[in-house]
Each structure stands twice: as C-alpha cells, then as structure tokens.
C-alpha cells in the first residue's frame, strides 16, 4: 500500500512538473518580449534576462524609424472595417441560407464551402492582378475586400442559426415586421454570443494578417504594424530593442481582447466543431 501511495505521489509530481514546464515555456516569450523592450540590442542578443534601463531609448528609436501612430491607425482601421463588414455580410448570408429555402440553396452552399479548401497561396497572384486592375494597390480597401467574403464565418453563422428560435420569427411576422427588420431588431441581439465569437475569429485573423498586406501594401504610409515588425525584424542585424517595442504594440490589442472575452475567445477558436 505504501509503495502504491509513493508511486501515486511520484506521478502527481511528474504531472505538475510537466504542466508547469509547459505553462512556463508558453509564457516565457511574453516575458522575454517585455524584458527585451527595456534592454539594448547588444544585451538582447547576449540573452540578458533582467530588466534594463533602455526602455525610453528603444521607444525613441522605434518612433524615429517608424511613424508609429500612423502604422497603428492603419492596422486599427483595416481591422475595424474588415471585422464590421465581415460580421454583417457573413451573418446575413448564414441567416439567409438557413431561413430561406430554394432549389439551389444546398448546391450553392456546398459550392461555397468548397472554397474553404482553396489555399491562399493559389489566390495571391490573381488577386494581386485583380487589385492592380482595379487600381487598388496601396489602398486599405484591397486588404479588406478579400477578407470580407468568408465562407467559414458564413458556415459558422448558419450552424448557429439552427438554434435561433423560430417562434420569435413567426411572432415578428405576425406583428408585421419586414424580413430585414427581423434580422436587425431580433436576430442580431438574440445571437450576440455568436457575434462575439465570430468577432474574435475575424479580429485575430485581420489584425495578425501578413502575407496579403505584404503583397498589396507597398508604400510606407499604408503599412500595418505586422508589416513594420517584419521589415524591422528580418534585417540582417535587426535593432531588437526597437523590434521589441513593435511586438509589444502589436500584441497588446489581441491580449486585451483575449482577457476581456476569454470565454468567447475559446468558443470562437473552436468554431462550430463541437
């Protein structure tokens, strides 16, 4: 019995050590980022793991190399517009697909879901040419437009609409509400948790997006924070002090959203897989 108890205790220790190490390794780069923001580049590349006194210097360097307010505003603008448009257009479609029947409905829907399989690498060249033809290179519209057509978010909304109470619609109809009124006045408020989860998926995708903005945003005044970090960081001898300031700036909004809406965040990540 004692040997069983010992073994049990030993395995409990192993479990905690394993989980502790996993948690520590997961958080460590965040710590490294914050500590790095206070150290000089030469200290960072020596692996100094204590807070330094160069925070102000790094911020100054970052601000002289980057028009930070503009870059941050570019990212914010793109993210807000893309998120609002995606949620609106995709929820309209998800709702529409579930509520309205037609001979073509399921065929169209399946066809639409097939586009989920298309890897972005196969789209980027024709999309780039298309945007060039529209004269949209170096505009934020070019970043937003392809994001708004999200088959995944439509799928997500259709799945969730299955739980939308039909009685509410019927009652609204009897009261003489038009279809669009039902959508905006009843569906949207009732489905707010679905919107919250979808908001997180889109927000994270757009705020963090890199490849497509890299292709269409070539002039400095249109660049986003992700693009700026990458161009500072992929230099042969990057100024890591300044880079750390950039990564902190880029991570704060997503961290904030994560801690403010943790439950919906996880829900959003899981999508409708459940």
């Amino acid at each position: 019995m004692t040997s069983y108890g010992l073994k049990q205790r030993f395995s409990t220790v192993v479990v905690y050590v394993f989980l502790g190490v996993m948690a520590f390794l997961s958080i460590f780069p965040f710590l490294w980022m914050v500590i790095g923001a206070t150290n000089t580049t030469s200290d960072i590349i020596k692996g100094k793991m204590s807070f330094g006194e160069s925070l102000l210097l790094n911020v100054t360097t970052f601000l002289t190399q980057v028009d930070a307010p503009l870059v941050f505003w570019n990212s914010a603008k793109i993210t807000i517009i893309a998120t609002v448009l995606t949620l609106l257009i995709s929820s309209l479609a998800g709702y529409g697909f579930e509520i309205f029947a037609s001979r073509f409905r399921e065929k169209l829907y399946t066809l639409m879901l097939l586009t989920l399989m298309i890897p972005f690498a196969a789209l980027m060249i024709p999309l780039f040419m298309l945007m060039k033809q529209f004269g949209l290179i170096n505009t934020h519209i070019a970043v937003v437009l392809p994001t708004v057509a999200s088959a995944f978010i439509i799928f997500y909304f259709r799945q969730s609409t299955k739980a939308f109470p039909h009685e509410l619609r019927d009652a609204a109809r009897v009261d003489g509400l038009k279809e669009w009124q039902i959508f905006f006045l009843i569906y949207m408020p009732v489905m707010r948790s679905t919107y919250a989860a979808a908001f997180i998926i889109v927000f994270m995708t757009v705020w963090n997006s890199y490849l497509w903005p890299l292709i269409v945003l070539q002039s400095n005044d249109t660049k986003t924070i992700t693009l700026v970090i990458s161009s500072l960081g992929s230099a042969y001898y990057p100024d890591y002090g300044a880079v750390m300031i950039g990564t902190v700036l880029a991570t704060i909004p997503t961290l904030f959203v994560f801690f403010a809406m943790q439950r919906q965040f996880v829900e959003g990540m899981l999508g409708s897989v459940k």
């Binding site: 394993f18 989980l19 996993m22 948690a23 997961s26 958080i27 780069p29 980022m33 590349i45 020596k46 692996g47 257009i89 309209l92 709702y95 309205f100 029947a101 037609s102 001979r103 409905r105 169209l108 586009t115 399989m117 298309i118 890897p119 690498a121 196969a122 789209l123 980027m124 060249i125 999309l127 780039f128 040419m129 298309l130 708004v148 057509a149 039909h166 994270m204 963090n208 890199y210 490849l211 890299l214 992700t226 970090i229 990458s230 500072l232 960081g233 992929s234 230099a235 042969y236 990057p238 750390m244 990564t247 880029a250 991570t251 997503t254 994560f258 996880v266 990540m269 899981l270 897989v273």
Partner: protein, 304 residues
C-alpha cells in the same frame, strides 16, 4: 411537424433570400472563385510579367526539372511530417493531464498554455529569432546547463535552422490544438475512466486505449487542419530567415524555403513569373484537396 407549417416557417428563396445571401456570394465569386480559375488558366501561360503566352504543359515540364521546387517541396514535407506529430502528441498529453478535475490551478495552467495563440505569426517569429541568435539566450542557457559545449548554429546550419522553426511553430500552436482536445474530452463520460481505474488499468494504457480512440474524430480534424496549415507555411519562415526580402536566402542552403515562400519569391522577388508561380500554387491546391478528401473519407469510414 406538418409539411404546411414547415413551408410557412421556411419561406421560399425569393427576393429576400437573395438579398441576404447575395452580397456574400458576389464577394466570394469575385475574390475566391474567379481568382482560382484565373490562376488555373495562368498555370498554362509562360513569360515574364504581363507578357504571357500560351505554353501548354511547359510549366509542368519546368516543375519537374526545377531543383528549387523540389527543395521547397521537401522542406514543406519535412516540416509537417516532423512538426505535426510532435505538436499533436504534446497537445494530447497536455489536454488529458489538464482534463483531470483534481489538478490544482487548472484554469490558470490552461490559460497560460493557450496564450501563444494570441500572438501574430510575425511577432512571435521575431521573438524566436531574437532568442536563437548565435550567442543569444537559448545557446547561453544550453551551455550553462552543460547540454552543449559550444552554441548550436541555429541560423547557419540547415538542420538546426529547421529545428528552430519547428520549435517555434510548436510553441505557437500546441495550446490551440489542446483546446480542441479538451473540448472533446468534456463529452467523454468520466465513469468509463473510473471503471478502468478501479480495474487497475494503468494511466498510460487508459490514455492509449480509452482517450485516443474516443478522440479519433477530433485528432483527425486537427491533423488535417495542421497539415493544411503547414503546407501553407509562410509568415514564420519569411520572418525568421528573411527569405522574402530582396537578396535573402530562405535559411542556410534554402533549408527553410517552403512552397508558399517559393511562390511569393517567383512572383514578387525574382523577375515576376506569374504563370509558373500559378503552377507551383496548384501543387498546394492538389495536396490540400487530397488531404481534405482523406479527411472526408476517414470520417465516413467512422460512421459506417
């Protein structure tokens, strides 16, 4: 429910229906369907820039004689064959340990392990790059722990460069996959575990013979999504190696050149060769299609 009330609740796809789904379908047609067909058409074109002419199978012929393409294909395969199993095993073990309600600080541990998911791919890549520099943090720690005598050449040796990228990707996505497993585990009846425990089935056997089979669908799902994700690997390799910028090779000996990075380089770095780049991109389309088909097939197999 009678057919009549069914019809009443589900009005026909009239003007209203089209107004609801129309905008989304128009956008998808313009920015997904049209480009993918255009890209198929382009894959039969040769020439530089916009001066393209019909080349038939020339691009396919070039593909099979292009050593850089095979480097990119091999690298991409190495990344997913090595990284995906390591990450998913780690995620599965972590999830099954965290699923035990007796564990203290469960919520805190789960949040911590999930946290890497909030970082942008570019931001974490830069962070990892700064930790793995020649005389940097990781090498200092390894030397101080006595694991190595001299620093590991993370940035200059093909093997170690790939290893570093694999470590980085694993850091970013393990917690993400763990969440899927945890969610699926919540649907497993705990009494099954209790019964097995009372019968004296050891922990590892419970994990292998109870947890894993019951999670098969979600394991399959994460395998396919991770593989598709790895097939499109771009942000990390471009940022860590600087392989997307002018003059930069994708790691020592192009050891981190992935298919997506190669397509990007063919289009935007070298003299733009849209036709050939489209051909390479269809290799990814093909691989993703095969994988998705396998997933569908495996899922059906399960139901039968």
């Amino acid at each position: 429910m009678s057919a009549i009330s069914q019809r009443r609740m589900r009005p026909r796809f009239d003007v209203n229906g089209w107004l609801f789904v129309g905008p989304a379908l128009a956008l998808i047609a313009t920015f997904m369907v049209f480009p993918i067909l255009h890209s198929l058409w382009m894959s039969f074109q040769t020439g530089l820039g916009v001066r393209l002419s019909f080349g038939g199978m020339k691009n396919i012929y070039r593909l099979f004689n292009d050593p850089l393409f095979f480097t990119a294909l091999t690298n991409t395969f190495i990344f997913f064959l090595v990284q995906v199993p390591i990450m998913l095993t780690l995620a599965l073990i972590t999830a099954s340990l965290l699923n035990n309600p007796d564990i203290k600080f469960r919520g805190l541990l789960r949040t911590a392990i999930f946290l890497p998911c909030v970082t942008s791919l570019v931001a974490y890549s830069v962070l990892f790059k700064s930790m793995f520099v020649a005389n940097g943090l990781v090498n200092t720690i390894l030397i101080n722990l006595g694991i190595v005598d001299v620093g590991i050449p993370w940035m200059t040796d093909p093997f170690w460069c790939r290893t570093m990228i694999i470590i980085a990707i694993t850091w970013r996505w393990t917690g993400y996959n763990m969440i899927f497993y945890l969610a699926a585990m919540q649907n497993i009846d705990r009494s099954v575990y209790e019964a097995a425990r009372i019968d004296g089935v050891p922990t590892w056997a419970r994990f292998l013979h109870l947890t894993v089979p019951m999670l098969k669908p979600v394991i399959l799902f994460t395998t396919v999504t991770s593989t598709i994700g790895t097939l499109q690997l771009f942000d990390e390799v471009a940022t860590i190696t600087g392989g997307g910028s002018a003059g930069g090779a994708a790691g020592p000996g192009n050891s981190a050149l992935t298919l997506s990075l190669y397509i990007y380089n063919l289009t935007f770095k070298f003299a733009p060769n849209y036709g050939y780049a489209a051909t390479v991109s269809y290799v990814i389309v093909f691989l993703v299609a095969v994988l998705s088909f396998l997933q569908f097939f495996a899922a059906r197999e399960r139901k039968a």
